[in-house]
């Protein structure tokens, strides 16, 4: 999961630094993630995992770190598979 998130973050995050330099728990907004890029990343995740982000996960916290994104995607995948 973390690997896919990293791949998509590298592609859609428009970050000024390399994703390899970012720890799983590091703050992505501090690393330069813009709100525009976070939405692009969200769309890419939806496409990749064939899921839809529910309203309660559409907030800054869900995208604040690689860990947080992976947790959010797992939560949706579990919910939407059930």
């Amino acid at each position: 999961m973390h690997d896919v998130v990293r791949q998509l973050l590298a592609k859609h995050g428009s970050l000024p630094v390399s994703v390899d330099e970012i720890a799983n728990n590091a703050d992505l907004y501090d690393a330069g993630l813009s709100s525009f890029a976070s939405v692009q990343l969200m769309l890419a995740l939806e496409e990749h995992f064939d899921v839809e982000f529910p309203e309660h996960l559409l907030n800054r916290k869900s995208f604040s770190s690689i860990d947080a994104i992976a947790a959010a995607v797992s939560e949706i995948a579990d919910d939407q598979a059930a």
């Binding site: 630094v17 501090d30 916290k61």
Partner: protein, 394 residues
Amino acid sequence: MTAAGPVTAMSLPERAKRAAKVAAKYADAVDREGRFPSEALDAMKAERLMGVMIKAELGGEGASLSEVADVCVTLGQACGSSAMVYAMHQIQIASLNDYAVGSAWYEEFLGRVCDEQLLIGSATSEAGGIGGNLRNSICAVDVVGDVVRLEKDATVISYGEASDAIMVTSRRNADAAPSDQVSTVFVKGQYTLEKTTDWDTLGMRGTCSEGFIFRAEGAKEQILPRPFAEIAAQSMLAVSHLLWSALWYGIAYDAFARGQSFVKAAARKNPGQTPPGALRVAEAANLLQQVKGNVVSGLKQFEAAKGNPDALNAMSFAVAMNNIKIGTSQTILTVINHCMLICGIAGYKNDTPYSLGRHLRDAHSAQLMISNDRVLGNTSTMLLVNKPDPSLVG
């Protein structure tokens, strides 16, 4: 902390009305001369309006954002520039109230705001392509030991010269990304302002929003402990849109009041005949009610979300606040234009009781204060994933 003066025994709306009376008296002169509304600000300070939103333990009155917005409506009816100065000051206070908790420096500073009725300005806009994109900075704070230094090419600092303190955004350090920002309040004496641009504008002329090279040196603890990203997302953007909208509504309301009294005077002269402008008054009243509903529902949503970071961070909340700004800034122009048609040449002239030039010019700033196109662009990104809630009770 401070012994409450007799003035604070009066209700907040009462005090706001007294200050607004002074603001109204000088509104045309302030507009014509493009000068700071010092009489109005002195009156606001005499009514002790500057610190009302600060908690009582620090010397304030713990007023809610809705109560402060109502003050903005009252001031907006009197003088758009005075109301804008007051609103911008309160936007800074709202941020400091919630995002400097536990900082000894800020507790003392907020106490001073109440005691000395200090006025706080803001420098987010920056030269070099940043414009109104307040979530990016070029300049960076330089911390050496306990000292913080900052230089910013600030394109617009409203009432910069009249401010007692200025809150400035910057990058966290020289290596930080443009969006990795902090906010720092510097007090008068800690900074110099080298004027770079004048403020000879269509409207909001009394805000004296000149450009400056801002150079400051202060104590490290003046850097707000929370990241600016969080302050902007959870407080500053929403509070700006709400307080601005409140005063814009006030400006439109006063234009409406002028249109209505024009029609009423005509009706008195010709009893039994409905004056031609009456229909437009009804139309303007309808639009005005939409503006009011917009602001009221936004305030309600904000008060409900306050203190709950999840609710404040939700995309739906940001979309709603953006919509309030867009809706209000556009609709007031239509309202004032209706009033212009009602009053005709009496509204167009600058020296009649029905003059509307100042209202119209002040109101035109609303779409540019954080460009509506920028705000719409931001909303459209969010709407790629966010679905608005259709519920009337949710």
